[in-house]
Symmetry: D3
Subunit: 306 residues, 6 copies
């Protein structure tokens, strides 16, 4: 096989047979795979040394087994040339819609709000963070860990929230929408991400406080600046604080009004639907997926007849 | 004050002052209240003895306090006369829509199914149980413990489920709808209810097995009779089995496909929205409700400005 | 017996014998007791109606038993006269040291800090809140629910923290002291208290966010104003966030540096020592106290020989 | 050493030294061991390719260490020849009694029942499932994962149950015996097993419902057919439903009559005695076994003097 | 009605109508009931004052209702006269067998042991504690809280243990029997009991250490004196330490050999059978008992047809 | 690099390339590292075979990477010669103070007690166990697993306890000190240790009972011998029993007097301070440590500016 991959990690190591080999972790839009290039000759070193994490490479390889897992035995490897018919965006996991379209959908919903305070804070944070929203994932490893995954998560929650307000008509639709738009906004500062939507870890403040507390601080600051009434600001902060719902998931309080309660369910439903769709990719009808850690180690079933 | 009430319980007791008194629990559509009629004379006994649990009575009384709770001191009490301008339906807690309309909505959804097996089982169970569905509550004490509460619960879940299938388009809408229609159908045999939608306890089989296991047995029997494919029947049974989601709430398995996962969230959202709306009845803007047991003892807040 | 008490609650009620009686909850510095004044004549009503919650009254009464608990049968009751030899401060639960002395101790510790940022924020918050600190309790019901209980709690934690830094010399003593001074400062805005140090409930923001999140917002605001370095501000906020240690007690993160870890233990030790001393008041040597709810229903033992 | 083994898994792999090797998992009646045959020549491939999972092979090998675990370095390997003095039954884990004898014991107990309904359902299910009972294990991995392990489990529970009814004379002995015979009968349909009593996984219905729910459906169906009174059928179903006792182990209800309670303890005692005996095999007096996962990671002690 | 009762508690109190009344808690072999004697005249006081807790009294009374519970309205009360045809033993809850017979059964089992060490420690502790064993209950409130309840508990466990050793033949029958005989022996020093088998509370050492730790200290002391080998003594101590099985029930370790494991199950089975039999006393066929606290608030069912 | 190490384990193994290699686990005072010496020639075997676990060796090696962990590729290895400038004490993890000094500090505190009973039992156990205290670690793997770690743990707890008694003046300082000195004394018999303070496992009695129960037995025995009053002995035993505080950590009771409560906190604080200091060794300012298992997998932060 011959194909293009992104280099997740690359290292030159010394084998127990005293020969150098390349130890690689490769990725494309369908997932990751480990690879080895055995017996790297000294003459190959100059070209090998040019390959860095994040580069695109072209590889010729055989598929082998190691410890029950697929692995590539690399025969040839070189960096992508300028005229190779592949772009970064083809190789990474990405949300299934265009970032601009999703951003536009969300921005339009904020603009349509009748509550001027909620509208002001949403528009401001969407505008200030537009650049990073175009690529940020919603998580380092779990659901929506993909290019623009955060936008995709927010957009589908917004869609679902709109409809729920049609059924449960006592809900304040602007408050629900504002909660959705702001609930994870500080993931932008909790996790670090490169422009491929690949998280490279947690920030200092992210580790010490987390995006719930960071979000509350941000809302407080902006609410002060735009003169949002205290009750409204506190309710928004409460929605951020409670959207993980359980203390062991980071919410020290439980929702105390219906819009906060709904925000939690919009969030968890979107995560679960994402994880189940993801798990079923490539599963044959009538078969189960592998166990999925984020689904409490459940297997997911794809029906055959129904 | 003079008003009509339903008798929930009535008992003639002997006070520590050696005088007879009536100990009453009264109800109307807004809730329940205890009442005492002190010093019942022997001459009153014939008319008092005619009053039974479930009767409608007219009462003249003063509102007093006992141990911090409101109580009625009854001055006069008599059974509703034929020409009194009150009907049972005026005094009980009831779903806010007409049972016939809700039943029709649900039946129409089942009829619109394209999956013939799911359609067949839903229509059959709706038809067979139509009479009791007109009044059954969805619970003995918790959410939707009201006349036709079960229908109301199913109808709003159906409405919400339809909309969710528009957002999460990979879901099989007929399977979601069938799960909603069948998930609590065996509450009809788990709890006992009179025709006012007031549950009078649990049945023998309800106590030993519960409506999840009872529902599975019912589906199995009908699936056999109508020749539903095994995979489909088992998936429906799995949806019933898992809709409480956590082992400690009665589900020994967790959902293993997206429609079963969604069924759980449709159920819990409808229960929570009901409980929160219920808790906020009569709460002033800017105030909190009392603590609500079914909401983990949370208070619910009614905003003032927003 | 004849004695002075504070009125916690007073209500005129109608007994089952159709006579009016006064239902009272009284308090002095040793605790609370219920009381009844039976058969209140109409002629007594004018003077009785003048007595309000929080008033000091003089009472003549007999001690009786009701349901195994002591109760007072009130014979006479009147409001404190101007020349009665009793002051509010004699009747309420209060910290065993003078508020001014405790405040001075704490202020002096802050002034002695070598870290200018920590010193600035501590001095500022102590100064701004001095008036309320003079009487605020540390809780509504649990440990240090007493006049100036918050100051007493902070002072003893400071004393203990100073000494611990002598043993664990790697600790930054200023950071520990700042954490102690600030950890509960927002109890001033989480709970409401009158000037007797009696909490009358939780504030709106207190219920929706809690003093941990409120504290973080306050630190963030002041840190911005005084230009505290971000790392230091975040570490202080982390100390506030983690000092309850367990998610189910309100801390979504666990301490990530030694000073935050120590802050938690200083807090819990002071609470436990307070509760145990409190439980042992009036217990005879060789006997156990009643069960104490805040100590997981433990009884506390007072030794006889040792 | 030279010996016979069953092939659990066999795979031809390419080593990092570019040579082919065989990666094997072997088993005999004492347990399992991994094995490697290095440097497989192309001339060996025809005979190697004939060896399949489940075959018996003769092996000449050296015992080596890898990562602290014993491993075989295979020198020679060939399939069992027709005249080799070994049978499958000699190499697999099997219950210590003859399946026919155990079946006969259980069948006789059912035949001796005085309750005609319980007798009828037990005899019918024993008869219908006789063929598979002869080899089915009681589990995929845990206790009684051995040839005819299910029969052995049921037989010892029956023996223990009989005796317990002598001590606790209020128990209905037929009901206890019927509960024992039926409690795991649907393991036959929950797990898949080959005729060696080696489970190869879970069935579709086993994964979605589990043997408790499957057992209830089976009892319901037969109870209908034989006209068993509803109370008796429901009690049997309740016994199946509750025999795992805790929600997190699959029982959403707890036993509500003494025979159901006893069934649980008969089950757990038999499992624990099996696991402890199993753990102590090969342990020297005065020594502990390894940690046993199914015993909450306990070590088991074999006494030296007692 | 006229009947004999034991006085559990007696108190003379002043009612809200300013009259004296007697507040009584009475008991006979079927349970307890509260009682009031209203309007006690001063002339009755001399005879009333002679009645003490634990006395037998003859009572004439009417059965009334109070708060949904039965209560006696006492018309006449006097102490049992010498010639009244009733004995203490007729009025208290007692094990259903004669203490002497149960003691003899247990003693005989100890004497039959072939292990001289186990025999020696059992005989010694049975002999030394014979007097108190004749009446001690096994608990203050839970199972076997009855005259000689401890003997009854041990005897039935011994019977069950003997039979279990016939099924699980790898068990050391003497070790199981010794564990049974010794496992609760220090309840004699953990709880206080009068000679009616009514526990009056916990001892000082019982509260600070508990009968598990107390039992280990006793075994250690006697083992030293009789020269029991260390391994055997430690194993016995381990059996005592682990027989409650779960940390939250007082066992910091789990059983590490089969005899310790079985001891736990013998104990819990005997407790559960006792509690279920107890709960079913007086329940009609086809009905459920009240909820039972020691059975996790389960109701227990008495079948009608089976 | 060339350096001295202790051999933790050494094994000669056969590689998949059929050549012998040495598999080593080495340690010095900063931690442990794995090492390989490839291609061991037969001529090297005599000198290699002389090297045993616990020996000091001199090694010449290159640092390599394996699976993300540092490893040594050994070029030369030989046993320490008599004149090599290194002693065992230089290479092992050890408490930062001299054992004699720590022992002296503790002994002096015991000698200064005014309570003669507490003084007697402390001095006796310190004297009897002096030899082993000089090197025993406080644990096999967790905090204070180092030479004389037990003494260091006790000494710092004593220092902290002294100071806490100055703040909480109701505490009996001798009782606190005695609790500290005795709380872990039976770790000497629960775990086995060589004279380097390296634990080699748990003793038989340690596994079956644990150092809490062992400690109680020891106190009971000595209390008997020296005639300590029962109350005092029982209180000491209670302190030992409760110092782990939670059932799941081995304490079946919670502290019932203030000195027992404080003992727990002195213990846990010293453990946590040790673990955090340990985790921060080698961490750069502004960085986090690795996750630490004994700190619930927290990372620990070393500040940069503060």
């Amino acid at each position: 096989m011959t194909d293009f991959f992104i280099i997740k990690t690359i290292a030159l190591k010394l084998g127990s047979n005293k020969k150098q080999y390349l130890d690689l972790l490769l990725a494309d839009s369908t997932g990751e795979i480990t690879a080895k290039k055995w017996d790297v000759a000294d003459t190959e070193l100059p070209s090998v040394n040019e390959i860095k994490d994040g580069d695109i490479v072209k590889i010729k390889a055989q598929v082998t087994q190691w410890n029950g897992l697929r692995q590539l035995r690399v025969l040839k490897i070189r960096k992508k040339a300028a005229n190779d018919p592949v772009e970064m965006v083809d190789l990474i996991k990405a949300a299934p819609e265009r970032p601009e379209d999703m951003y536009h959908y969300i921005y339009a919903r904020a603009e349509a709000m009748t509550d001027v305070d909620l509208k002001a804070i949403c528009l401001r944070l969407l505008t200030e963070n537009k650049e990073r929203l175009m690529y940020y994932p919603a998580a380092q490893k779990n659901h929506h860990a993909q290019l623009a995954g955060l936008l995709y998560h927010v957009k589908r929650m917004l869609m679902n929230g709109e409809r729920m307000c049609q059924v449960y008509t006592n809900l304040n639709a602007d408050l629900v929408a504002a909660g959705v738009i702001l609930h994870d906004i500080e993931k932008l500062n909790e996790i670090d991400s490169n422009e491929l939507g690949i998280s490279t870890g947690y920030s200092f403040e992210g580790q010490l406080l987390g995006h719930l507390v960071q979000g509350i601080k941000t809302i407080e600051k902006i609410a002060d600046e735009i003169g949002m009434p205290r009750e409204k600001a506190t309710m928004l902060e409460h929605m951020i604080l409670t959207h993980h719902y359980e203390p062991e998931y980071g919410s020290p309080k439980k929702p105390m009004f219906p819009e906060a309660e709904i925000l939690h369910y919009l969030d968890i439903i979107d995560a679960r639907m994402f994880d189940m769709e993801d798990a079923l990719q490539g599963v044959q009808p009538g078969e189960f997926s592998d166990r999925v850690w984020t689904l409490d180690n459940r297997k997911v079933y794809k029906p055959s007849e129904i």
